[in-house]
Symmetry: C2
Subunit: 214 residues, 2 copies
């Protein structure tokens, strides 16, 4: 399977031998390999090769494979996806139509990002072996995203939404599950369901509710 390590002396990168850039090299390589192969099927030799680094160098920055894995998951969640807390005021002022457009555009990005699909696979697949990482993912990605919708619904009593958290979940869950079964599980090749159809249906559910009471 694995080929013998290359004999190329690679110093093509910066001569900065200081640790920070080396650590980043390792993390970036580990992200790629872990996302492609999962935890158990990823070998440290492969990570070292991908990083252009010797294996002992990895172990001088990370205690073991598990710590490296934790580091890359944190990199992919708290440091990257971490939904930058934009000002809430202008968002709260949006019309329901505009708000649907806003969150749709955010989920649409995830729909079309193969790397995010791999992260999703990894988080779900390893959630029993690494429950603390699943917790990080829930806290930094899921809850933060849903809180935005909850606040919006709470600020718009004219929508007559009795349970804003449940409604926020229905919105977010519809989009996430669409990505899961269409992109991650490959349902788009069996029975495609357009993102816009779900978006429009959600909009109808929310906005026609509004009309009913105005």
């Amino acid at each position: 399977m694995t080929v013998e390590p290359p004999v190329t002396t690679n110093m093509e990168n910066l001569k900065k031998v200081h640790s920070r850039s080396k650590r980043d090299q390792i993390v970036q390589a580990a992200i790629k390999v872990f996302l492609e192969n999962g935890y158990k099927a990823t070998s440290m030799n492969r990570v070292a090769q991908e990083a252009g680094v010797i294996k002992a160098t990895i172990y001088s920055h990370f205690k073991d494979k598990e710590q490296l894995f934790i580091a890359i998951i944190e990199e992919l969640t708290v440091k990257k996806i971490d939904l930058n807390y934009e000002d809430l005021e202008p968002i709260m002022a949006l019309s329901p139509d505009q708000f649907i457009d806003l969150i749709s555009s955010k989920f649409s990005v995830l729909m079309n990002d193969p790397q995010y699909h791999r992260l999703f696979r990894l988080m779900v697949g390893e959630s029993e072996r690494f429950p603390e990482l699943a917790t990080i993912y829930v806290k930094t990605v899921i809850i933060r995203g849903m809180d935005l919708a909850i606040q919006y619904f709470d600020h718009h009593p004219e929508l007559r939404i009795e349970d804003s958290a449940a409604m926020a979940h229905i919105c977010a869950g519809s989009f996430v599950s669409l990505m899961a079964w269409q992109q991650v599980l490959g349902g788009n090749k069996i029975r495609p369901l357009e993102f816009s159809r779900v978006k429009n249906m959600l909009r109808a559910l929310i906005c026609e509710r509004q009309n009913k009471y105005t």
Copy 2:
């Protein structure tokens, strides 16, 4: 532990007469070990030990590890979950309220079944390495379940649902994603969201729509 001595007449089996119960032992053990550890982290030695069988016996029934894995996934989908096609007539006659109760009760079972959570983890986690298995899962589980809801909405034009497939997805997706982030990812320990709240919100969205036009 205890081996069943009497074997019923297995006529349908052509080649191996004595093998059926052994094969089932292996499959059941493999289900347990694969669901607990994932594909790569499952060793054939461990499966053999769990089945109370020697490793060579496994290889006399299955060509290799991959074929055994495929067999257990098929066992867990087409042969087990396979939503038994009950008569559609009585279901189509249900009121929206009753229909929501019906599908809620079905998803509620999955919500509280740890083995199904593990199957979900396995399917999502291995969907890139075993796309054909993900396809089986989509065809036998997801699509069959959604078709029921699609037909119901199509049979109830008074609900004024413009896109029955999108609506069916919103219902199913809301429940599945709830299981995913509450049970599979452990969100219930961070921010619990009751199944009944989502159910009631969905009912409100569907039924109040009906009232509006009657």
